[in-house]
Amino acid sequence: MHRLRIEPIGETVSVADRQSILDACLRAGIWLPHACGHGLCGTCKVSVIEGEIDHGGASSFALMDFERGEGRALACSATLCSDAVIEADIDEDPDARHYPVRDFIGGVAAARMLTPDIRGIWIELDGSGIEFQAGQYINLEIPGVPGRRAFSLANPPADPRMLELHVRRVAGGKATAWLHEGLTVGDRLAFSGPYGRFFVRKSAPEPIIFLAGGSGLSSPKAMILDLLAEGCRAPMVLIHGVRGRKDLYFADLFCALAERHGNFTYVPALSAPESGDAWDGEIGFVHEVAQRRFGGRFAGHKAYLCGPPLMIEACINVLMKGRLFERDIYTEKFATAADGKASLARSPLFKRI
């Protein structure tokens, strides 16, 4: 296992022994240009600034000898022989803060059910806490469960010592079962972070649309609290979609924010209201409500989408039909093992969405 820094964005990722640079970057959410994926076309050419790499099966036409001599490499074929730094042909994001990933241990300060299947968990950190951008996530270790699980932070960065997680119970999932039933106040939890490129592009002046599905409220909650606390004046709308009235949470908080801030609108939406719900609000899936609210026209906005893969896909479709395109759409997909089959094979047409 080696560490790889990617310039000009300054992010660092871990690369396993026989893993390609491209694979490690894509898995870490860093998009590098690529096409054929097996060393023939040269689309993924990068410069190696520091460290040793192995060129693997790169074609001698796609990567000429003199280019190898100049420190060029094909990310899809190259593996690392040491820690390394590369420069890739990717755009630097002026709004990315590049906070370093660190390891933390925190104590569970509180936990309560927010809805029948979402548990809120608050983790207290010592010292100065964690530096992150609203919208980013952490990787949490679960006792007795191999691997780590990703959870978005629902607290704003202004509260770096009290982390808030929204954990939806996944049917048959061991990790979320433990977080719902095994975890108690006072437990110590290990995690690393912050991760992810889902954060508000504050340098963009456009009005903002937040589309959240279920526990996908977490990142938008952190983003909205952060923006409003900073005095952001851009119009912003949060559409939060859930099934029934019982699945809605933090509604009072957002209603209160909407009353205090004229530029913030809160739109809760139920896709399957039950007979006792006494609901006079929006009915339908998030993308349907968004389409109605905006008359199907989204050009001139920035959209931040957070939730399960099917909801994200439906929202991207509606936004693009309404003339909002990739450069203005940001997504955080909450995929579980159950979504594996639903994720379609993708073409290289889109980079991030």
Binding site: P8, P33, A35, C36, L40, C41, G42, T43, S59, S60, F61, A62, M64, D65, F66, E67, E87, D89, D91, E92, I316, N317, M320, K321, R323, F325, L344, A345, R346, S347, P348, L349, F350
Partner: protein, 507 residues
């Protein structure tokens, strides 16, 4: 002094390539750029073009020069080592003949027209991309000519390919395809060639030829293939960027792009039926069947692409369902056309042996034994009886794709598919709904088609007899054409192989 941050590649590239798109003052912009608006494509902001690759001219020359040095070193060694002896069988070379006659001239056409597009788009990003592609295509044409010229020293049918490309009946299929593209506006050209061909269908052209070469000991073709493929990434990403750019610029562009995608999918697919024949019938050592290639490269990869394009409101190309229905038969139907007319072609066809038939039967379990094996066996019997079948009637051609009318009904592989349209008192014939619909969209364009059979009957092709016409094609009669069995090429190959056996026996 504050530390200045290093420029990113994007910024460096922008500084070197932007600012070339000034507003003209001596002449109005419409006069300087007369071609980029008449198609109805609305562009609000050329600067929204995202360079799909950032290669400076300086780096471009350096990299391409090195690729040339490598390729020409391989070509030298091919010719010094008599690499023609290393191929699996002389029959394989017929695939190379089709390539130099049918594909290489298209590379040259692409070179010319990308230069035209590079001049006539007013956005600087696509201009630079088209300029580099123009140079790439010239390099591809040139390296193919130089590589294949080694085979031309020994084998027939490759001595005057550019002349043949402009005249020979079956070469009017690729020629008219590209003529259609270069006589369209710049955006249709880019959608046709960069998107539909270079992105959606290119794997079905290059993979069969290059893998076919690799499987059959043709190091020369493999090498120019790798060399060309290292440029393809730019061409493919250009194809994607063009379509994204047009679709995002204005929603009025959507139906125009959809119509072009429908049209150029079908045109490209019809053109590739020649490649399907080559894959299934002409490679001594097989790579994969046409049906397998279609499934992998179109149905799977194309499926993912059109799922993504669906976000823009683009639907998969019209008639892709017909292509799916035809995948078990077009290669057999096209082989039959060429077996019929080998006396008028600049490559050979031959009796398909039992082992090859077993392979076809395995790859096409639903169609080969039922529909095509009996015909091949009949032809074998006729040839053994000294009556090798040649069809001496000139075929009716589809007015659009220009392939002889031998394709069958989508739902009935035993009935020839005939479609037609009437215009100005004349009836125009088509092989499919796809071809008829393309004609009906722009009849004024396609009534002008140069149809080889019509031209022969009108007396424009050298004379009234088959021999006159073949001489006008510059065919070497009795060498370039007719069955492989009994050809000078077969005689030469058998002598080479016999010499090899003697040498081995002597060791």
């Amino acid at each position: 002094m504050p530390a200045t941050k290093k420029l990113g590649l994007k910024q460096k590239y922008a500084l070197m390539t932007r600012g070339l798109d000034w507003e003209t003052t001596y002449q109005p912009m419409e006069k300087v750029f007369p071609y980029d608006q008449f198609e109805g494509i609305k562009v609000k902001n050329w600067d929204a073009w995202e360079d799909p690759f950032r290669l400076t001219m300086d780096a471009y020359w350096k990299i391409q020069a090195e690729k040339e040095r490598k390729l020409y070193a391989v070509i030298d060694s091919i010719s010094q080592n008599n690499a023609q002896l290393g191929i699996t069988d002389a029959r394989y070379i017929n695939a190379v003949k089709i390539f130099i006659q049918g594909v290489t001239p298209l590379e040259y056409q692409a070179h010319r027209h990308f230069a035209h597009v590079a001049r006539h788009l007013r956005g600087v990003g696509p201009r630079i991309a088209a300029q580099m592609q123009s140079l790439d295509e010239l390099r591809h044409a040139q390296t193919q000519i130089h590589t294949i010229s080694h085979y031309n020293k020994f084998f027939d049918g490759m001595h005057d390919w550019q002349h043949m490309h402009d005249r020979v009946w079956y070469l009017s299929v690729p020629k008219s395809f590209f003529d259609d593209a270069v006589t369209a506006g710049p955006f249709e050209f880019l959608t046709a060639i960069s998107f539909s061909f270079e992105y959606v269908l290119t794997n079905l052209l290059f993979v069969p030829f290059m893998s076919g070469a690799a499987y059959n000991g043709d190091l020369a073709t493999v090498t120019f293939g790798f060399s060309a493929q290292s440029d393809e990434s730019r061409h493919m990403t250009l194809g994607l960027e063009v379509v994204k750019f047009i679709l995002e610029q204005d929603e009025a562009n959507l139906p125009i792009v959809q119509r072009w995608i429908d049209k150029w999918f079908w045109r490209g697919y019809r053109l590739l039926s020649l490649v399907g024949m080559m894959m299934d019938y002409m490679l001594p050592k097989k790579v994969m069947s046409w049906a397998e290639a279609w499934e992998m490269y179109y149905e799977e990869q194309g499926g993912a692409l059109f799922a993504d394009l669906g976000r823009y409101g683009i639907r998969p190309p019209k008639h892709e369902d017909v292509a799916r229905k035809e995948k078990d038969r077009i290669s057999h139907e096209v082989w039959a056309i060429f077996y019929n007319y080998t006396h008028a072609a600049a490559f050979h066809t031959w009796d398909i042996d039992d082992e090859h038939m077993r392979w076809l039967s395995e790859k096409y379990p639903k169609t080969f034994d039922q529909l095509y094996r009996p015909r091949l066996l009949m032809w074998r019997d006729m040839a053994r009886a000294g009556k090798r079948f040649y069809n001496n009637a000139l075929p009716q051609l589809c007015n659009l794709c220009q392939i002889p009318m031998a394709f069958t009904e989508p739902d009935d592989p035993t009935t020839i598919c005939f479609r037609s349209s009437e215009l100005g008192g004349d009836r125009y014939h088509f092989c499919s709904d796809g071809c008829k619909e393309i004609f009906d969209q722009e009849p004024e364009k396609f009534v002008q088609s140069w149809l080889p059979v019509h031209q022969i009957f009108q007396g424009n092709c050298g004379g009234a007899s088959v021999e006159d016409v073949l001489k006008w094609y510059h065919l070497n009669l009795g060498a370039d054409n007719l069955d492989y069995a009994g050809s000078p090429e077969q005689k030469m190959w058998d002598q080479w192989m016999a010499g090899r056996h003697v040498a081995q026996a002597a060791e």
